[in-house]
């Protein structure tokens, strides 16, 4: 089995009208065995900037810590909040530094630009190749299922409430067809004046 599928994960980020959403499952498992159902895979990197980290759980935690470290230094030097685009480059650089012995994570980034409040989403592969899109990004062991759900359900300019429904249904129906992800879900809706975190009631199998 692939190392990226050892722990299992499902993460989606979507753009809406003046908002973004990022959602993830909550399973921590070791191959087929589920060990806990409250494992965080989405990390706050700024008041309106989140990164979702699917992949090998040890690298999920290491990368989030090392990223936060670099981000803190950046913000101390620059004396301002980082832009999402710059943050994406920071993640990409962190991963490419390990080009020939990579971290086994394929991150997903979602945020609002601090000045313009423009929504921004991006994903990348485990060695830092970025992909910036205008609709949605997915990553995890059920990425094919998530692509199918997002492609069918997403439409442009969804309001925060509609975006919540859309991303939740896309995530849940995708991970319900994956033996390695699920066991709970969490959604962050990021708007210019607030961030809402909601836990999803899902099948626990």
């Amino acid at each position: 089995m692939s190392i990226l599928a050892y722990n299992g994960a499902a993460i989606i980020a979507m753009k809406g009208k003046d908002c973004v959403a990022i959602a993830a499952d909550r399973r921590f498992g070791v191959q087929a065995q589920t060990v806990s159902m409250d494992f965080d895979k989405v990390f706050e990197m700024g008041p309106h900037l989140f990164v979702g980290l699917p992949g090998l759980a040890t690298d999920v935690q290491t990368i989030s810590q090392r990223l936060k470290f670099r981000l803190n230094l950046y913000e101390l030097r620059e004396n301002r909040r980082i832009k999402p685009q710059t943050f994406m480059s920071m993640v990409s650089n962190l991963l490419y530094e390990r080009r020939f012995g990579p971290y086994f994570v394929e991150p997903v980034i979602a945020g609002l630009d601090s000045k313009t409040n423009q929504p921004y989403i991006a994903s990348m592969d485990l060695i830092g190749c970025p992909m910036i899109t205008d609709d949605f990004v997915v990553s995890g062991t059920c990425s094919e299922q998530m692509y199918g759900m997002c492609e069918s359900l997403w439409e442009p300019d969804l309001s925060p409430d509609d975006l919540f429904e859309t991303i939740s249904q896309a995530l849940m129906n995708a991970f319900d067809r994956d033996a390695l992800s699920g066991w709970g879900g969490v959604v962050y809706i990021i708007e210019k004046d607030k961030v809402t975190k909601k836990l999803l009631k899902t099948r626990m199998d």
């Binding site: 087929a32 159902m37 409250d38 990579p102 067809r177 994956d178 033996a179 709970g184 836990l199 199998d205």
Partner: protein
């Protein structure tokens, strides 16, 4: 991108290593069990079939009839167990015509064993045979991978059963009533579903007594719930 192999603990990986499964083959990596009670047997299973990590069928019926009063619970390769059950059904039907009476559970279990043992190098099949006959009442037989045969008051099988050994050893009581036995089986299967990635979906059960077979399905909120933080 990277696809280095990890140590095998995924049911399909283990079965592939043993030599049974081919890549891409569909497995009922699963939770199955059968329990004797006062008057017959209760059998139960989850409903998930996987191809690797993809859930190919989420409403599978793993409880397969071989005679009017004898069922088998299938785990392992879906193709192998379906083929074996079909052949056993034929043999038992023939046996019924020859003998002029319903085949015994012990006979059915032996036919399964014969197939699973003689073709042990080509098959991945873990089967539990359970049913009722007029000579022995309710009986449960285990025919795990390799083809041994063992009778017992209850049997558990499939990848999810590893999570149940402690639970069934602590909670089993001989000569339960039908409803208590149904609760025991549904609780056990629910616990396994909650921990095993290869088990999930709905819980299917059947009660086999002298009066025939009564089937039950537990879906969605009907599944037993256990402690969860949220």
């Amino acid at each position: 991108m990277a696809t280095m192999a990890m140590t095998n603990m995924f049911a399909s990986d283990q079965l592939a290593a043993v030599g049974g499964l081919r890549p891409g083959e569909v497995t009922t990596g699963t939770t199955i069990m059968a329990v004797e009670f006062d008057g017959g047997v209760i059998i139960g299973a989850d409903s998930r079939t996987t191809t690797g990590a993809y859930i190919a069928n989420r409403v599978t019926d793993k409880l397969t009839k071989v005679t009017e009063h004898i069922y088998c619970c299938r785990s392992g390769s879906a193709a192998d167990t379906q083929a074996i059950a079909d052949i056993v059904k034929y043999h038992l039907d023939f046996n019924r015509m020859e003998m002029g009476e319903e085949p015994r559970v012990h006979t059915a279990a032996n036919v399964f064993k014969e197939m699973c043992y003689d073709h042990r190098d080509s098959l991945s099949a873990g089967i539990i045979v359970a049913g009722w006959d007029k000579r022995g009442g309710g009986q449960v037989f285990s025919v795990p991978i390799g083809g041994m045969l063992q009778r017992g008051p209850f049997a558990i099988g499939g990848s999810g059963s590893t999570y149940l050994y402690g639970y069934v050893d602590a909670m089993f009581k001989p000569d339960m009533k039908q409803e208590d036995c149904l609760k025991f089986v549904s609780n056990a299967v629910a616990l396994a579903i909650s921990r095993d990635g290869s088990s999930g979906g709905i819980i299917r059960m059947a009660a086999i007594t002298k009066n025939g077979v009564e089937r039950f399905t537990l879906t969605g909120d009907q599944l037993p719930k256990f402690y969860e933080d949220n």
